[in-house]
């Protein structure tokens, strides 16, 4: 059984990792329960997680993508600035050739108007996200998305990326 510190421990330490996922907030969002939950969930799905925490500046996210070379990026935000900050950072990431095809999703409370914010999804997809999960989305949709990625890994990715 894992220790309580298992939360920070890469799953790969206990067995074969399905890949590496970078979990992050956006620049102005301080909320972290969503990030703590997603880290646990994604680790339990068998991935290693690189957790960047709250209020992540655009440049730090880009540096982390280049440094850690993740198989996917999961952005989570609940403060209502997700559409603004998410679209901006997606454009910054996509402008870098090495990151142009990196699977990158965003989820959470993306605007300040609740269900009236559904149109923001299109804006975020246009800005470069691979998938958008508005508030109320089932986390198993994210699990499905990551599973598809990891199944594609052997064909698509270099071996050193699979073995963390």
């Amino acid at each position: 059984m894992a220790s309580v510190e298992g939360m920070e421990k890469p799953v790969a330490a206990q067995g074969k990792s399905r890949g590496r996922v970078l979990v992050s907030s956006v620049s102005s969002d301080s909320h972290t329960w969503n990030l703590v939950y997603l880290q646990l969930l994604i680790e339990e799905l068998g991935f290693d997680v690189v957790a960047l925490g709250a209020c992540v500046p655009d440049a730090l996210l880009v540096d982390a993508c280049l440094h850690h070379d993740p198989d996917a990026v999961v952005l989570s935000t609940v403060n209502g600035h997700g559409a603004l900050d998410g679209a901006r950072v997606a454009r910054v990431v996509r402008a870098i050739p090495a990151l142009a095809a990196l699977p990158m999703v965003i989820g959470g409370q993306l605007g300040v108007a609740g269900t009236a914010d559904s149109a923001l999804g299109t804006e975020l997809l246009d800005a470069g996200f691979t998938a958008v999960y508005p508030a109320g989305s089932d986390p198993m949709r994210l699990a499905g998305f990551l599973s598809v990625l990891s199944e594609e890994l052997p064909q698509k990715m270099l071996p050193e990326k699979v073995l963390a």
Binding site: V4, M7, S30, A54, C55, G80, H81, G108, A135, D138
Partner: protein, 421 residues
């Protein structure tokens, strides 16, 4: 005459009520304050700042204003003094104090903007406005809050500061640690020369445990804040909120009862829209009236609260920290470095991250791992907490109030992200 919040609270026989409220534009902000002032309640007005201002990105706040994009609060620095003065004109006064709430670990610009517009009430703390809110190193936050507190203490008017230490991440923090951080931040502010303070505590998961925590907070504050005028302020539950209107209103009413029974002089309320979006002014007013009416119908607490050791834990934490250094700011930095203070599930780089907490079968918050806190080791050993456990604990209050008198269901699709603050 002073607009200071503490004096207003002392004059009020009834529980003082206060919303969480912040709007991007001057017109909406002024209308919100005017509505709270005109509600006929013993109320304090709130200007909650937006997230860009909190992190010091005033240019981004300015761009959002210019582009007509929504913000989640009032960008006081980007607006400048003329706009802020127009918002407050004829509203803020001795009978309607206005408080600035922001969550910034870099509060210098905000405190200076407050001074330019004559605002004297705010909230914060070197720990509680840092660890839950982002990436500023704790030592920088302590330095920033020292300077901010000094600016407030040096003003001609009396300034009032409320600790946010009784909330931290909003949920799943054992109450002894909330009490300890709230007290330590108050002692920090006292050391910087501030003499009007309030100590926060956020409603958690079990009313008896909350009453015990409020008693411990009162006892420690009485002992450690000589020469300070202080009161206790209760926050309505700050975690994942019930989705149903009836459940949300029951939780809010319970917080009003807890405030009265626990001896709080002021309460900061949530609304029935909490789970879904930023509330409207009308939703805030309904909530303020509900809390006022419920409090008026509630008698004070009867007799002493059963002692489960919460006060002893809080005292042990406070005394361990204060013994580290005569300067409370330095003591706080050392305490986190040594793991003598360690907030469960807090991702901040300066938090040791060795503690974990759980909800027990009676809905009380317990330690699952005490890490290096100066508390007795757990007889049962440390427990692992998985994603499903975490989600179940985070939403336990929501489920209890949304499904009144029903056992907590384990089925159904949880949402992708949870957490409100």
């Amino acid at each position: 005459m002073s607009h200071e919040l503490g004096a207003f609270v002392r004059r009020s026989a009834a529980l003082v009520v206060q919303p969480r409220m912040g709007f991007a534009t001057a017109g909406a902000m002024r209308a919100g304050l005017a509505a709270v002032r005109g509600a006929g309640l013993p109320a304090v007005g709130t200007i909650t700042l937006d997230s860009y201002t909190r992190v010091g990105d005033h240019a981004a706040a300015r761009r959002a204003l210019d582009g007509g994009r929504p913000l989640n609060g009032f960008p006081i620095v980007a607006h400048g003094p003329a706009v802020t003065d127009a918002v407050l004109d004829g509203l803020a006064g001795p009978d309607f104090p206005v408080q600035v709430r922001h969550g910034s670990a870099v509060p210098g610009d905000i405190v200076r903007a407050m001074e330019r517009s004559g605002l004297v009430n705010t909230e914060g703390g070197p720990v509680s406005y840092c660890l839950p809110y982002g990436r500023t190193p704790l030592a920088e936050s302590v330095a920033n809050w020292r300077r901010a507190a000094d600016l407030l203490a040096a003003r001609d008017e009396v300034c009032h500061v409320e600790t946010f230490g009784g909330c931290l991440l909003g949920q799943l923090c054992p109450p002894a640690l909330l009490v300890a951080v709230s007290v330590l931040e108050a002692v920090f502010f006292r050391q910087r020369g501030l003499r009007s303070l309030s100590l926060s505590y956020a409603q958690q998961t079990n009313a008896a445990q909350d009453l015990e925590a409020l008693a411990a907070l009162r006892s420690l504050a009485t002992r450690l804040l000589p020469g300070v005028r202080w009161h206790i302020v209760l926050y309505t539950y700050m975690g994942v909120f019930p989705r149903s209107e009836s459940g949300a209103l029951r939780l809010i009413a319970d917080s009003a009862r807890l405030a009265v029974r626990g001896g709080a002089a002021r309460i900061i309320v949530k609304t029935s829209a909490e789970a879904h979006r930023i509330p409207t002014v009308e939703e805030n007013l309904r909530s303020l009236r509900l809390v006022h009416d419920t409090a008026a119908a509630t008698g004070p607490g009867t007799g002493p609260v059963p002692d489960t050791g919460l006060a002893a834990e809080a005292t042990a934490l406070v005394e361990a920290v204060l013994s580290l250094d005569p300067d409370v700011g330095e003591a706080l930095i050392l305490a986190f470095r040594l793991g003598l203070l360690d907030v469960p599930y807090c991702l901040h780089a300066d938090n040791a991250g060795r503690t974990r907490s759980v909800l027990d079968s009676r809905g009380r918050l317990r330690w699952a791992s005490v890490g290096r806190l100066p508390l007795p080791r757990l007889a049962s050993g440390a427990r692992r907490v998985g994603a499903a456990d975490l989600l179940r604990m985070l939403s336990a209050v929501e489920r209890r109030y949304d499904h009144h008198h029903q056992p907590a269901p384990l089925t159904g699709a949880p949402t992708l992200v949870e957490g409100t603050q």
